[in-house]
């Protein structure tokens, strides 16, 4: 198993070991959801970047708040 990681990564044939940074993948997912939702929803595409940033920030903020609330429940209750 240790030999496998020293060999070159072959895209699509081997997984990437994510154990250390998998939570960071939340950011591209949030951005993708915001881009798709706003691209379908808004009438004027010129407003897209601003709307996407706002929506992504809102999702991220609420997820952080939910995580903090759940952490408090786990720690205090």
């Amino acid at each position: 198993m240790s030999t496998m990681h020293t060999l070159a990564y072959r895209p699509f044939l081997e997984p990437i070991p994510l154990e250390g940074f998998w939570l960071l993948l939340l950011v591209p997912l949030i951005l993708a959801v915001a881009i798709i939702y706003k691209s379908v929803k808004i009438e004027n595409m010129a407003l897209l970047p601003r709307q996407v940033v706002m929506m992504a920030a809102q999702i991220l903020a609420f997820m952080v708040m939910a995580a903090a609330a759940l952490w408090l429940v786990v720690e205090l209750v």
Binding site: I16, L18, P28, V40, E43, N44, A46
Partner: protein, 194 residues
């Protein structure tokens, strides 16, 4: 099916009871709108295009900029999932309970190329000989496990589910005619007047 999507303004129960109008109404203008063959065919082609390649439906309907944004975003998420977990994250079989469908695959299959990747995965699996490899030979592929598998499945399935929004939007545009959208940035007044 088409009639239901185009009904917009009244309930299905009214239609079944015979109290609904014969032809559907345009939800924007309220005018009676009869589906012609060309509209239905356009809706079918655009919807099929959106399933084959996310965003292609919008491009076929003339909304090129919107289509390219949708296509690049959804494909980036989908390809990202495959890069994270490899082709083994797309599998139609449910290994925990073979009698039940793999729910993640139902989401992944909302993008047509997932079906091709599923075939590639099974071809790779069928080509595995099961023999012990000598130390100088590499495995043909490495199945994903743990976080890699979890995130790979999440990315590919989410891309498929996001494509549902795109497919529904394409159907709405073609069947209700609600396409008065601004594709390009408004030009400066001086340029327009000249």
């Amino acid at each position: 099916m088409v009639f239901l999507f185009s009904s917009g303004g009244y309930r299905l129960a009214d239609r079944l009871a015979g109290t609904a109008p014969v032809a559907p109404r345009n939800p924007i203008s309220g005018h009676l709108r009869i589906m012609d063959r060309k509209t239905i065919l356009t809706a079918c082609y655009a919807t099929l295009g959106a399933w084959l390649l996310p965003g292609l439906g919008h491009i076929l309907l003339g909304q090129v900029r919107r289509g390219v944004i949708l296509m690049s975003t959804i494909l980036a998420v989908w390809v990202g999932g495959l890069l994270i977990g490899g082709v083994t994250v797309i599998d139609h079989r449910n290994h925990d309970n073979p009698r039940r469908p793999n729910l993640a695959f139902l989401g992944q299959a909302l993008i047509a190329p997932s079906l091709v990747v599923n075939l590639v995965h099974h071809k790779l699996e069928a080509g595995a000989t099961g023999r012990i490899l000598p130390s100088n030979e590499r495995l043909r592929y490495v199945p994903a496990h743990g976080r890699s598998r979890e995130q790979g499945v999440l990315f590919t399935a989410l891309a498929g589910l996001l494509n549902v929004l795109v497919i529904i939007d394409v159907m709405t545009i073609t069947l209700t005619g609600h396409a008065h959208r601004i594709e390009e940035e408004p030009e400066a007044e001086g340029i327009v007047n000249s």
